[in-house]
Structures are given as structure tokens and as C-alpha cells.
């Protein structure tokens, strides 16, 4: 990665609404160079999506989230990839990670209600032939996500004017 690409990722990760013009000024590069670098990052699938961090708890949307530890039997020649693919195709699944430790896959699942989520685990996930066991933990409260602290207002404690 070039220095410009690294800077662009830093800037966008903090605020992905900033215009290319502004990024060009902030990095000291030409607009065309920045546009090309962003295009490159997108083409290389380094930047996948520009999405906000949302605190759903402050909305009226009903929503349950769970982290499911899944133990599976790896398949010959495919390892864990084939089963991971089977799992991530479900719309309920937000993230899938292959983990070291006492289980194999960590699956983050989101549903509207507890009932829906239970139906997903018992009806869709557990019956998969290579899944040998699951342990579901529900998210009770979110404190910090993507580097953003949720629970408190981060007020500026600095003096308005100081020498």
C-alpha cells in the first residue's frame, strides 16, 4: 500500500462522508491522485462498503443479537471454508470468523425477535451436517463498536479559549 492509500483509509475510517476534494487537501495530493487511489482501494476490495456505526439501542427498532460459537468437522480439501460459506449465506448472519481455541467458527447473528433467532439456530444452523455443536450467547448491551464508545456523550472538556 502507498502512503496515500494508508492515509485515505485512516481518514475514511474516521469519517467516510468526507469528499475527495477535502481528502486531497488534507493529504496534500492532487484530486485526481486521490480519486484514483480510492478507486484502486475499491477495486482491490480493500474498501468494501461505506457504512455508518449505528446505535440501534437508541432507536425503536426491535432487534436481538447473538454470538454463536460453532464447532464443526472440517471437510477434506476445503477445511473450514465450505462450511463457513454455507453459514454466511444466511441473511441473519452478520459476521463469521474462523477462530483459534475451543470452538471453530464465531457467528454473529441478528434477528428481530428472540423467537426468530431461536428458530435460526435450531432450524437452520444446528442441522447443518458438519456442525457438531453450538453455544449461543445473547448481546445484552453494546459499549463500544468500531472504536466508537456508545454509552456516554464524549463531551469536550477543554477550556473554550486558552493561551
Amino acid at each position: 500500500m502507498t502512503k496515500l492509500e494508508t492515509s485515505i483509509l485512516d481518514i475514511l475510517q474516521d469519517d467516510c462522508r468526507l469528499s475527495l476534494e477535502k481528502i486531497a487537501v488534507m493529504t496534500g495530493y492532487q484530486l485526481e491522485e486521490v480519486a484514483e487511489a480510492v478507486q484502486n482501494l475499491e477495486n482491490k476490495k480493500i474498501i468494501l462498503k461505506y457504512s455508518p456505526v449505528i446505535n440501534w439501542d437508541r432507536t425503536d427498532r426491535e432487534r436481538v443479537e447473538a454470538m454463536i460459537e460453532v464447532r464443526v468437522t472440517p471437510q477434506r480439501d476445503m477445511g473450514f471454508d465450505a462450511i463457513a460459506r454455507r453459514i454466511y449465506r444466511f441473511d441473519e448472519v452478520k459476521s463469521v470468523f474462523l477462530m483459534s481455541g475451543s470452538y471453530d467458527l464465531l457467528v454473529l447473528v441478528e434477528a428481530r425477535t428472540l423467537k426468530e433467532l431461536a428458530a435460526f439456530v435450531s432450524g437452520k444452523l444446528s442441522p447443518l451436517e458438519t456442525v457438531t455443536g453450538t453455544a449461543t450467547s445473547f448481546v445484552l448491551k453494546r459499549y463500544k463498536e468500531e472504536g466508537v464508545v456508545f454509552e456516554q456523550d464524549e463531551t469536550d472538556r477543554r477550556l473554550v479559549i486558552s493561551p
Partner: protein, 393 residues
């Protein structure tokens, strides 16, 4: 009672800080966006805070040595030699103080006798001139200007020298202008210092905040300046540790020991947890190549470019400031004085900036804007300021 007769006349004679009035004005406006702050918008990196928390848990609540924890002084020595090629002995050449502010005050009090003249680049940080007066000296402003990118010029310096001149305060990178001094500039100043037998207080608190490929050069590292220089620095700006109040002075043993004499009677020692945190900041920096400092510097630099660019787009004459976290544009094209510009900007657009005149008369026609503020706030503040400028020029 008439308290005036009891108060020290020398101190009473110093007018209240020009910034104070603005502070009151700006504080009364709840939603103002402030470009008037003078400190980082980062919190102290958590690992540094954690070191102080652990020190409290471990019951480290006692005085430290007057000169500061030896461990911290050793780290300071390593830091200064590694970063700026300065060699100071931790035992007798380094004094840990309550912020760089105390170090400045001690240096002035240790060196000034009644009637000594002290050269202070104008504009500069607000406490130099009052500090000189409190110590019995006479501050002599040395004009700096935008045409020279607010660098101190040897010719201007020499014009201000009289037989009573004893000291030069050299505050670069500079607050409020963001100006830096390069090696050539410093060498020219060094010649004058030798020629007129001066001592230099080099306030390098912004030494880590320098941008665009420029490097900070310590004045004491310039030929022959080491025995004539008191180097002052601290943790507030580089490590985002303003509220901890930890700074230091380094210099010839003979001067540092007199400064320590005042410090031991007046202060005893800087607070222990601040010193512990400062030592861990330097130790971690040494181990990870000052990762946190570099991250913050990079972030300031982006905002610096954004701000300079915006001022130029609004038609304000703005030299490129390569240091600290301030931009010092000229607002002369509006026909307003610095005071009037800032007052009206606050009243009409709810944006606070500091008039250049708060830092000395050479700041007239300029305003100080700090870019250590979130990009979205800077953006809104600059849009409002652009409106203000275009309707007034």
C-alpha cells in the same frame, strides 16, 4: 479596605491577560465552535493513563525528589539525546517542573536581576512578558512579521539589544503563529547571542508538532549554544498531557541548581502520578518509536492543510505554519482590527478565535485559529468564517 496599598505594585501594574476577556465572552455562548483552544483534542493515550492508575493502586502517594523522579529524568535524558542530540546529566542538569510554565518562571527568576532586559519575539505566548516583569526585568518585544513567516530575524533582534540586555526567550515552534526556525535561522541568532553575551531560554514545548518534512532543531544543539541555553520542554502538547502539568528544564548545572533552589522552596516537587505517567510516555515512545506522537502529528497535519487551504480560499493572506497546531491568517483585507474581527465573528457567527493582539502588538491584523479540533467542527467553523469574511471585505 483599600487592598491596593497592600498588593505588590509590580504585579498589580501588569494588566489582566488579553485572552481572559475573550474567554469570558466565548464561555457565555453555549453553542460556539471554538478555534480558540490551546491544547490537543486527543486524550492522553490510555497506556500512559494506566501507568498512573497503577501507581495509585500501588500506593505511590509520597513526595518525589525535588528535581523529579530519577527514573523520569533518565528517560528525559535519553529522549533528548535520541531526538535532538542534546546531552544532559539526569542527576544535575534536568529539573522536572509543573508544566513548562513553571520552568519558564523559574528560569526567569533565577536569571533576572532588577532592570535586566529580556528579548521576547512578538507575537508570542502570553506569559513571557508578565513573567519577566514579575521577576523584576523589562520585557523588550522583538517584532516578527508574516513577510518573514514570523521567524525571528537576527537583524531585528540586534536592533533591540542594549547594554542592559541579558536574556533572549526563543519560543519555536511558536504559539500563536505556528512559525518554526530552521537551522540557518538559528545559526544567525546564535551569532548575535555570542556577540552580545546573552543567555537563551529556548521554549520547545511544541518540538514534536512540526510538519511537512521539517525537523525540529534544538537551539542548544547549535554550535557553542549549549552552555548558554536553558532548554524547556514538557509533555502537554506531544503526548496530549496538558492537565497533568509536567514539564522540565535542562541546562548548565549552575543555572539548574539555582532554579531548583526556588522550586524546592516554592513547589517541593511536581505531582508524583504526573511524573510516573510522563516517564511511561517516554519509555513507551522509546520502545515503539513514538507511535502515539506520530499518529497525533499525522492527524494534526491533515487538519492543518485543511485550515490553511480554507483561509486561502476565502482570500485571507495566510503563510504556511509548519509547527504547533495554530494557523495565523491575516484578516487585514476586512479592514477590521483583530479584536473587532474576533468579537464580531463570535457574536454574528458563533465561532471563537483569538485576536493576534492577545499575544503582542505585532499580532495586530491576525487571528489565531487552532486546528486541534474535529474535522466536522473545523469545516462548519470555516464555512461560517468564509460567510463572515465575504460579507465584510
Amino acid at each position: 479596605m483599600n487592598y491596593q496599598q497592600y498588593l505588590n505594585s509590580r504585579i498589580s501594574a501588569v494588566p489582566p491577560s488579553g485572552i481572559r476577556r475573550f474567554f469570558d465572552l466565548a464561555s457565555s455562548r453555549k453553542d460556539a465552535i471554538s478555534l480558540g483552544v490551546g491544547e490537543p483534542d486527543f486524550k492522553t493515550p490510555y497506556l500512559i493513563r494506566d501507568a498512573a492508575i497503577n501507581s495509585l493502586i500501588d500506593g505511590e502517594t509520597q513526595y518525589t525528589a525535588n528535581r523529579g523522579l530519577l527514573e523520569l529524568r533518565e528517560e528525559i535524558a535519553l529522549y533528548l539525546s535520541g531526538r535532538y542530540h542534546l546531552s544532559y546529566q539526569p542527576e544535575d542538569q534536568i529539573l522536572v517542573t509543573i508544566g513548562a510554565s513553571e520552568a519558564i518562571d523559574l528560569a526567569l527568576r533565577a536569571l533576572i536581576s532588577d532592570g535586566d532586559e529580556v528579548l521576547v519575539p512578538d507575537p508570542s505566548y502570553v506569559s513571557y512578558a508578565p513573567g519577566v516583569i514579575f521577576a523584576g526585568g523589562i520585557p523588550v518585544p522583538v517584532h516578527t512579521c508574516q513577510e518573514n513567516e514570523f521567524r525571528l530575524k537576527a537583524s531585528d533582534l540586534e536592533k533591540a539589544i542594549t547594554p542592559s540586555t541579558k536574556l533572549l526567550i526563543l519560543p519555536y515552534p511558536n504559539n500563536p503563529t505556528g512559525a518554526i526556525m530552521e537551522e540557518k535561522d538559528l545559526s544567525e541568532i546564535a551569532e548575535i547571542v555570542i556577540k552580545h553575551d546573552l543567555i537563551v531560554i529556548s521554549d520547545e514545548i511544541y518540538s514534536e508538532l512540526i510538519y511537512d518534512g521539517h525537523i525540529h532543531i534544538s537551539f542548544a544543539a547549535i554550535g557553542d549554544m549549549y552552555p548558554r541555553t536553558i532548554t524547556i520542554n514538557g509533555f502537554s502538547k506531544a503526548f496530549a498531557m496538558t492537565g497533568w502539568r509536567v514539564g522540565y528544564a535542562c541546562g548548565p548545572e549552575e543555572i539548574i541548581s539555582v532554579m531548583n533552589k526556588i522550586h524546592q522552596y516554592a513547589i517541593m516537587c511536581a505531582p508524583r502520578q504526573g511524573q510516573v505517567a510522563a516517564a511511561s510516555a517516554l519509555r513507551m515512545g522509546r520502545e515503539n518509536n513514538y507511535e502515539a506522537v506520530l499518529m497525533m502529528r499525522e492527524s494534526y497535519d491533515r487538519r492543518r492543510r485543511l485550515m490553511v487551504n480554507s483561509f486561502r480560499q476565502m482570500g485571507l493572506n495566510c503563510f504556511e505554519p509548519y509547527g504547533a497546531f495554530y494557523v495565523f491568517p491575516s484578516i487585514r483585507c476586512t479592514g477590521m482590527s483583530s479584536e473587532e474581527f474576533c468579537s464580531r465573528l463570535l457574536q454574528e457567527k458563533n465561532v471563537a478565535a483569538v485576536p493576534g493582539t492577545a499575544f503582542g502588538s505585532s499580532g495586530e491584523g491576525h487571528i489565531r485559529c487552532c486546528y486541534a479540533t474535529a474535522v466536522d467542527k473545523i469545516t462548519v467553523a470555516l464555512e461560517r468564517m468564509a460567510d463572515f469574511v465575504s460579507s465584510n471585505s
